[in-house]
Amino acid sequence: MTLRGKAAVVGVTDAVSPTGELELTGRALEAQMVREVLDDAGLTLADIDGVCHHQSSIQFAEFLGITARFTDSTMTGGSVFEVYLEHAASAIAAGVAECILVVFAQTPRASRTAAKRRGGSGEMPRGRPGMWGGPNPMMEWEVPYGLQGPVGGYALSASRHMAQYGTTPEQLATIAVKTREWASLNPRAKSRDPLTVDDVLASDMIASPLHKLDCCLVTDGAGAFIVTTAERARDLRKPPVYVLGAATAHSHMMISQMPDLGTTPGSISGPKAFEMAGVKPGDVDVLMGYDSFTITQLLHFEDLGFCAKGEGGPFVESTNIGPGGELPTNTNGGGLSYTHPGMYGMFLVVEAVRQLRGEADARQVPDASIAVAHGSGMVLSCMSTAVLGTEAAL
């Protein structure tokens, strides 16, 4: 596939001043650019389904209430906007998103003037910078209240899910227990001793309703993978594992801004990736879901379509997700029992590939041909779903 003719630039704007200084700064200036470029293109904000921003595309999308299916905060310096154009065209050609917004504002002169007007030295704008140097409303609207990160956000989601759907602590604990069964088959797993629901419920409460054993490990970890063309992959040493479908979605940065604490953006990325792959949840042999906490995995079952919304609790009671079960889930032992070095998504892909190659030793799922790696970023903020398959699944 070539990108030629697959995408076009349909709106442009910019802001400059002969004095070299603009009146607006920061988000206000970015918002002005958005208004103008939408007008230039004849589009509305609702048309936008992809965002590129060099500080944080998630924070910027949250600011305008955009739910995005394509996201890029790649940072390469001054060339980054050409990079965004390339990425956006690729994404559009591939059907990942239809209308991608690239926005930028930087005002060293006006920011200095404004700071001086407010009585400061003019060296630094007020407000603590965000993780990527942009505005950081979290410091103003969440941090003062003392929610533990990251467990507190997941605990709030779990409390909401329990109240809305009747999900129980026992049902959440079942996920930890079944995941531990997988870990017991993996000599490289951190936690391998058998676990019961009572063990989970008896462990320390960290942030109600989540106990210590509802939480992932904190370990060291590392990994890598290589992607190449299908044609070339067929000539290499190991059987190819093909990307059958992939999709991403994010809806918020702060847990307090999550549109519905019982539904993740995986409800968008999951069906999109499955549709692209031409598979249904029932076709999946191995599910690798990012299990930062038991509630995270429960939400994945619902949002990826393995059960209806709200049915995650009864689902884990009636469906064996452990060894020998109907839906082998987190077969390496997961973030809950295998490893979790802070960013666990690497290990989802590695285990999915091992299963599809038949390299999973005692935990091998027989004849696995389709695996899903479903990652979760921030606080249920950014979900990315990859459907992987063997030659037989093509």
Binding site: R27, P135, W141, G146, G149, A155, M205, A207
Partner: protein, 140 residues
Amino acid sequence: MARIEPEATEVTDAFWDATREQRYLVQWCGACGTPIFYPREVCPQCLSADALEWRESSGAGTVYAVSVQHRPANPTMVDRVPYVVALVEVDAGGGQAQTVRVMSNVVNCEPESVHVGDAVALTWEPLSDGRNLPQFEPAT
């Protein structure tokens, strides 16, 4: 120990100044009639920057989600454990049933007694500079 205190921005100065008089303001877009939280430079619904305004909330709220913190999020919260962090749907001050959802603490009660759906009312905790931090307590 004093907790981490919110640092206002140009956009939110009005909100925090009002807390000195224990008034809770909600930002609204006058152009499209939408309550906005967190307050920001532009309405996320219609992108208007010219019609943003403040309306005063009654302080009545409903617990949307709740978690009791059994470990402190940072050293300033050690003496408060266990304490309640909740998402509260608070009256947006528009004279209608509209709310905005905010993070806060629920205080003046047993931590484990707070549940999703509970009615709560605004209360305040003094900050070091004369501002007040919005808090909630069970509605009487």
